[in-house]
Symmetry: C2
Subunit: 501 residues, 2 copies
């Protein structure tokens, strides 16, 4: 970025969230749009890709600790494989990119660019699993997938190609598959809460919005500051439908042949979109220190006569922090003044700025400024490392608290269709209301205000274990005898309506 | 693998290297062939993928230490982008897979599945680079690419889709690009020598076999036990051809607009093929401890009355090794006898086996067996960790020594076309001979014995630095006045002929 006038966000998050978001992504150098003729694709730049690497590092570690092995399956899937699981093809057929030619020749059978890999992974799992001793089998792959959706591109949120991980597992019984489903949901929630500083709401998708073929689709939903919900990741208990379609059977301890239970679960770079959207502001990107490429930037402030001492002191501070494992950058560029540097690093989302001028050198101090709110404190040189670590923790806590407040203040109830729509229209957020379970009642709302049922409560009682009991959950509010707020029939379920990305 | 008769390699490396290789890959559970209709594609299983993760871990660390940032560019490239660099399209056009339909609609312009990404990365680098301060710019991506070559599939060696990393850099001047080219060649060589226990030969490709558009293509070549050479990785000095085609210019310190110099460099999973082929034997996979998923397997040997004490002792040994950071697996399966376990873990390439029976328990000892040669020693319990680490180093050294001997014994000279062909036919390996530089002389040999010029000496003198001076290099043997061994014209170059994968 070499021209002053190109720095700085011109749109406002509150009034033009779409344009503001696109500007943050572009100007913080996270991503660029792909060439003409490739609408829906993006180029992920190093500052954006490093966020994805944080996701990979964390999930890979947790997956490994819980018995998952990484593998890699082909990019393409033959058409007849996709068709073997009718539920899947019904779900994905219109969204698939097709390879029809290899070199100068037309292919005998066209190949789908994978939209998801159940239909190619399941037959191999069926080959590899023979005995109960081969179970559970837990595979994951990091890859890109393509879904040809004809909607407006929103970098990370909605792109025709996206990076994700997709996990696929097989188990002896229902309990094993269900526990697996929740273990992965826990890990996704942990990523949002402990790495992204974002509370999420645990829930399930209503039956008509499950992954095609799944028994249960569980979800973590994140509420954006503009009142829309983002499906943060999903974990599916597939029951026996895929195993039956692909002959995934095993001989149990009594040598009886049984059909396995399977799961799949995925988190895509949409998570990065939610991260950027949640914390950033009109000055640009805001990142929690857990994922920021630079956690600390040091901006030295000098005149000619103080330059040497200020730079010397700054370099010592930088070295000490680096030694302690802090990701620190010393911005000692000659050609830029401190104000320019402040703006640039705020734009790029560095959580903590240390300002060092002649006064700091003289007093053996450092001035520390928090990114989200500009809070400024003076830190002593000899407690540098512990103070910086405390500042970074504080920044994390501030980001989390703001996001949590947004979530907690924006779950409302409604007693009539008008109130559902009015609340969504006025406040956004979630509207929780008794529901008969019929998709038609969702449609009635959707048509008018584009809000849908993003979650219903998830009954986790079937499995033991500590499923993040401090979690925000989609909770049931209907009582026996309650009526569906839309149609007035008996309520069987509690629906969370929201607009969503 | 639950049936005894399926264990074990039936082909012999010496007599049927192709069938033997395929059997090792399949039975050691590294990869499977893709479904019918997808010839040329493979499924990479966890034991194979973990080898690729070792490559990623090492290269990513070295790339990061030398200023490279990871990014991600789209999977597809518009046809007119590919065509903009005519040299590239000439090189790759016949090998490209084409996406022609998205969902139910035909695309206005078909999209190539990337065969390599210069043509989409260069235009973005051109946007991002404005000033000399933006240089050098070093980007890398880990991804899969597709080249629709109509040859027989050989897992990892030759597949239509393969995983690789591709690095793309831009520099102010020729010296910067040349140093970059050699830095990456060094890192590839280091991967082979320090991680894969494989010596490689550094060289350049002859002009007619360079990457299309490159000034110089450098290579590391690995000699397989069957006498064929594998191109282990390439690093290209692209000069200014791509920069000119894509307007990659910058303003220098005097504000003068200049054209940048670029490089690209890549290593694919073919490296895994070379690794497997080099060390493995008729018992199955052999891996150096650096990359083996399990470095040590413990096989307890018990009767009913000694079971408890043997398993207890074995578990203590396993815990102590794990604590020390050794990747260890205790195979305490009840349903398999020790002989079966020995065979299985030999097949799967575990470098060191520890056998623990009642005698070992009584004497406070462990019996250690090296994978490559069955060498057996007794180790004392109280020096366990240091002994195991020494054993692993010894195994590494043995593997390296065998591979180095193969390389050193198989570089021969020849004084006539008949001798080139006879030597290749009889011994394989490299034949080093004076050459006029004309492709026709290579063709004359190639037609008869399928050997080609895999390398010529690489002049590194233009750059200072320690370019692995202990390296095996393609060295010049021709003297002024020498004649081309094939046509008798003046020799300008020394050619290394070999059959290659």
């Amino acid at each position: 970025m070499s021209e002053d006038q190109e720095l700085g966000i011109t749109e406002q998050k509150e009034y033009n969230p779409g344009e503001w978001y696109a500007e943050v992504v572009e100007k913080a150098e996270l991503a660029s749009y792909a060439p003409e003729g490739m609408g829906g694709f993006i180029v992920t730049r190093p500052r954006g890709y490093s966020l994805w690497e944080s996701v990979q590092d964390n999930l890979d570690r947790w997956f490994d600790e819980t018995g998952v092995e990484n593998a890699y399956f082909p990019l393409f899937i033959p058409e007849d494989y996709l068709e073997r699981e009718k539920d899947v093809v019904e779900g994905f057929d219109p969204e698939v990119a097709w390879v029809t030619h290899g070199g100068h020749d037309e292919l005998e059978e066209r190949l789908a660019v994978r939209p998801t890999s159940e239909s190619i992974i399941a037959p191999y799992m069926a080959q590899w699993v023979r005995s109960h001793r081969d179970l559970p089998l837990r595979l994951n792959q990091w890859c890109s997938v393509v879904r040809w959706e004809a909607t407006e591109t929103k970098p990370f949120f909605r792109t025709k190609e996206f990076l994700w991980q997709e996990g696929h597992t097989a188990h002896e019984d229902e309990a094993g598959a269900w526990e697996e489903t929740l273990t992965r949901l826990d890990q996704y929630q942990r990523l949002y809460e402990d790495v992204f500083a974002m509370p999420v709401m645990r829930g399930a998708k209503p039956d008509h919005d499950k992954f095609p073929g799944a028994d249960t689709t569980t979800t973590v939903e994140a509420l954006m500051p503009d009142g829309k919900s983002v499906q943060g990741a999903t974990s599916h208990n597939l029951g026996q439908s895929f195993a039956e379609a692909f002959d995934l059977t095993f001989s149990d301890e009594d040598e009886v042949e049984r059909v396995a239970h399977t799961t799949s679960w995925g988190l895509s770079w949409r998570a990065l979109g939610a991260l950027i959207m949640t914390h950033s502001d009109d000055q640009g990107l805001v990142l929690p220190p857990t994922v920021a490429p630079e956690q600390v930037v040091i901006v030295p402030i000098w005149q000619e006569d103080t330059k040497e001492s200020v730079l010397q002191y700054s370099a010592e501070i930088a070295a000490e922090l680096e030694e302690a494992g802090v990701r620190v950058h010393l911005d000692d560029r000659d050609e830029r003044n401190p104000g320019f540097k402040y703006n640039e690093w705020e734009l790029k989302g560095v959580p903590l700025r240390l300002e060092i001028g002649p006064n700091e050198v003289a007093d053996g101090e450092i001035t520390a400024v928090h990114r989200p709110d500009g809070e400024q404190t003076t830190t002593a040189r000899d407690t540098l490392v512990e103070d910086v670590e405390a500042h970074l923790d504080e920044v994390y806590a501030k980001l989390y608290a703001t996001a949590e407040e947004n979530l907690e203040e924006n779950v409302r109830e409604a007693d009539s269709p008008e109130e559902i729509m009015g609340t969504i229209g006025q406040h956004g957020g979630y509207v929780r209301t008794p529901w008969c379970g019929d998709e038609a009642c969702e449609e009635a709302i959707k048509e008018k205000v584009h809000a849908e049922i993003v979650a219903v409560p998830l009954d986790e009682s079937a499995v033991e274990g500590d499923h993040r009991d401090n979690a925000h959950r989609a909770e049931a509010v209907h009582e026996p005898g309650d009526e569906c707020t839309v149609c007035g029939d008996d309520a069987v379920e509690t629906a969370y309506f929201a607009r969503s990305y």
